[in-house]
């Protein structure tokens, strides 16, 4: 059986990542940071595609991190400073670390985050989704979210939380295409997320959130994880067997209780896959799904650094911005916008 030919099936997704998004060019220095838990064929495909563009590719294999956003070894951090483009296909993401932020902001590296990336995700329609169409969806979301003052998030699972929108630093999945120096793109299984830092005390997030899936745990939770949020901090954690893990972080990790992120997926082709990886990375890109982080918000325009950043997941939120509903029970309403639909037709995409 010619298993090796499977790599051909991911090349269109890899091309989308390397060429359309990262804009890797001849003569650039590309650094691939990976670990021993990552899929070797993906590393090979990334390196091959970058080399084909004329880039000089260096690959570093490190020990997998023990938790998401744990800093990489100093050798890796230093190497990241000298790369034009950094790809990080790793088990636990290092995208929101000090090493990543310094490499991007101070040295101008373009950074593509590829945690727990699978062959299946890279073969998918989500990975091949046209980048300009994601830009258009982003633009429509930004017209509502980016101009609002307040957000109210609810869900049938009991979630009911509000907050002020104070950050001008919208982020996550939408740099320019191709990316510019210093930019960050989450391309885990697909691209397409939009979100914000809830603003700490100034954002004044208050309420309760129940999560359907939790970072570092595979599968949909039997008992939803519950956060009680007061003034932008998680003050109470409850739920099933996973709750103890998050309670420990909230109570014992410096700034582990900081509400760092509210972010939705934009990609209508991204699938809700919860039982294959601890990051639920493709599900985060599913149009209308919400993920919420505690911990480090520095990379999201926030003002709090923590040596952890954990994203938990709600499948079908309803999100109202001032008086406008943007997401209705998990349906991202701007997908029906005529401009979005017209562009989708141009690219031969439908959902």
């Amino acid at each position: 059986m010619l298993n090796g030919l499977e790599i051909a099936d991911i090349m269109e997704g890899v091309h989308n990542c390397v060429v359309n998004c990262a804009g890797v060019k001849k003569g650039e220095h590309v650094l691939i940071v990976t670990d021993t838990k990552s899929e070797e064929r993906i590393i090979q495909a990334l390196a091959a595609m970058c080399t084909a563009q004329g880039a000089d590719v260096t690959t570093i294999v490190m020990k997998p991190r023990d938790w998401p956003m744990q800093e990489p070894p100093e050798v890796v951090a230093q190497a990241m400073r000298y790369a034009d483009v950094i790809f990080t296909p790793v088990y636990y993401s290092i995208s929101h670390t000090r090493a990543s932020i310094v490499a991007r902001l101070e040295y101008g590296a373009r950074y593509l985050n590829l945690p727990t990336l699978s062959m299946d995700s890279l073969k998918s329609e989500a990975a091949r989704f046209p980048a300009p169409l994601i830009s258009k969806i982003y633009e429509k979301v930004h017209e509502i979210w980016g101009r609002a003052k307040k957000v109210h998030i609810t869900a049938e699972n009991g979630t009911d939380v509000t907050g002020n929108i104070v950050s001008k630093f919208f982020t996550g999945g939408m740099p320019h295409f191709p990316m510019q120096e210093g930019e960050f793109l989450a391309f885990g299984g697909a691209m397409g997320i939009y979100g914000m830092w809830p603003g700490g005390a100034e954002g004044d997030a208050n309420g309760v959130m129940y999560f359907d899936a939790a970072h570092m745990f595979v599968g949909k939770l039997d008992v939803p994880l519950k956060y009680v949020i007061k003034n932008g901090r998680v003050v109470e954690v409850d739920g099933g067997k996973e709750a103890e893990h998050f309670r420990n972080i909230v109570e014992n990790v410096p700034n582990g209780d900081h509400l760092a992120e509210w972010m939705i997926g934009l990609n209508p082709k991204a699938r809700i896959i919860l039982d294959e990886d601890v990051t639920h990375v493709e599900a985060h890109r599913h149009a209308g799904a919400l993920h919420t982080a505690i911990g480090n918000s520095k990379v999201l325009g926030g003002n709090v650094y923590a040596n952890v950043h954990l994203d938990n997941f709600i499948i079908e939120p309803t999100m109202k911005f001032d008086n406008t509903v943007l997401v209705d029970k998990g349906k991202l309403l701007v997908l029906d916008d005529p401009e979005v639909q017209d562009m989708a037709k141009e690219y031969g995409v439908s959902w």
């Binding site: 000090r98 902001l105 101070e106 630093f169 510019q180 120096e181 210093g182 520095k298 003002n303």
Partner: protein
């Protein structure tokens, strides 16, 4: 006694780094011209000043803008450490030693400004050592 508010040591250091170290080195010409941005510096106990980068040229003036493209708040010690190459601007930002804001303080704008400073520091160092 020296009055720091009138003294404006940070302003003088910024002039040295931006005008001599950065604009004075031809190798930086294209990099400077990438963006047109007004950067407001607010240094504790010193007069505020603005670095205007426009059409590849750099000018500095004392005063404040209502809505700067980029804004930096710091105390004088941190500012001087960064502008003397003793402290990384990225690390200083991560550790809340200086604050960066403004309408264009996104990844691209922040990264460009940090690299302007680093190039200026590097250029000035090489000039001094020659």
């Amino acid at each position: 006694m020296v009055n720091d508010k009138q003294d404006g040591k940070s302003y003088e250091l910024a002039r040295e780094i931006f005008l001599q170290g950065l604009a004075g080195e031809p190798v930086n010409k294209d990099f400077i011209a990438r963006h047109n941005r007004a950067i407001q510096f607010m240094i504790e106990d010193e007069p505020p000043f603005v670095v205007d980068v426009r059409d590849g040229n750099i000018s500095l003036s004392k005063g404040s803008l209502d809505d700067p493209d980029l804004a930096v708040k710091a105390n004088a010690d941190v500012f001087r450490q960064v502008f003397r190459g003793l402290l990384s601007p990225g690390e200083a930002w991560m550790d809340d030693q200086w604050w960066i804001g403004g309408a264009f303080s996104d990844y691209v704008g922040t990264s460009w400004m940090m690299r302007l400073i680093k190039r200026g520091v590097s250029g000035r160092m090489s000039q001094v050592w020659q």
